[in-house]
């Protein structure tokens, strides 16, 4: 019984961690972009002023063309200037923001970006997100496999 409870708790924790990691990784946006590039859906890439796919020149007035939100801002940005360019904003009392706190529209702490050196940086925090996602799918498949096996066994005995 205790084993079952522990498994359920672990599964719920992994599921919550996966949802959180999924949002941080922004998988859906990346995949959506890939399909937009593949199928050439320019209208959904930022409206009428959307950026054309690479290697394709639409011509005309280039100054009117705006990139879609978050496309050129680097990872973790949401259309606003990145943290490297925008001043860090403190709270209403004038206190400086905490170190590592994510700024609106800026890069996540410890995230990748052109400001980081070419090598020598070891940050396992980012790897943890992917580990949680993989662990969730391992556990999900494992539980599904076991329950299906139990079901087929019970059917056989009947």
């Amino acid at each position: 019984m205790l084993k079952k409870i522990l498994t359920a708790v672990l599964f719920i924790a992994l599921a919550a961690g996966t949802v959180y990691s999924w949002q941080r990784v922004d998988f859906s946006r990346k995949t959506a972009m890939f399909f937009q590039v593949v199928f050439g859906d320019q209208t959904s890439m930022g409206g009428p002023g959307g950026r054309p796919p690479m290697g394709e020149n639409r011509g005309g007035d280039m100054s009117r063309q705006q990139p879609p939100n978050g496309w050129q801002q680097g990872r973790g940005s949401q259309g606003a200037p990145s943290a490297a360019l925008s001043p860090r904003v403190g709270d209403e009392n004038g206190n400086a923001p905490d170190f590592g706190q994510r700024q609106p529209g800026g890069r996540p702490p410890g995230g990748g970006g052109p400001g980081r050196g070419p090598g020598g940086n070891v940050s396992l925090g980012n790897v943890a997100k992917y580990t949680v996602i993989m662990a969730f799918f391992v556990m999900f498949t494992c539980l599904l496999d076991r329950s299906l096996r139990k079901l087929s066994r019970s059917r056989r005995t009947c």
Partner: protein, 153 residues
Amino acid sequence: MKLNTFKFSHNFLIVVVFLLLMDSKSFFGLWFHEIAGLTVCALFILHMVLNWTWIKVTTLKLFGKIKGKQRLNYFIDIVLLVCFACILISGMAISKIFDFSWLGFDRQNQMFYRSMHSSFSMIVLIITGIHLGLHWNWVLARFKRSKEEKTSC
């Protein structure tokens, strides 16, 4: 070293290196990402060679009488192989450390290859999780056997 122990450590190495590869900038930068990426591809080929008997037998029996789980495993492995190939090709196309221009990749399509690389890596992450889950009994058996061997010693 016994074959199963070698297989286990080899598979463990693939998973660890693959997880470190997921973020190109967080673990020793791009040079590690590219070198380790090519190494994982080599390890992946070795993984297929080590399990060649299973691949051969299942391919021959695929349209005959075969267990549903085995068929699912085979299908997942095929998808994994295709996705790995896509990651490798797109990785070569956007490579900055190594020069793969002799393969004739179109430098104009960098955005396409970049998004293809990240999308397929996420798909591979999920499928690898499913693949591991389907082989979890083997992993547990390896753990149990190594424990038994230790106690018997």
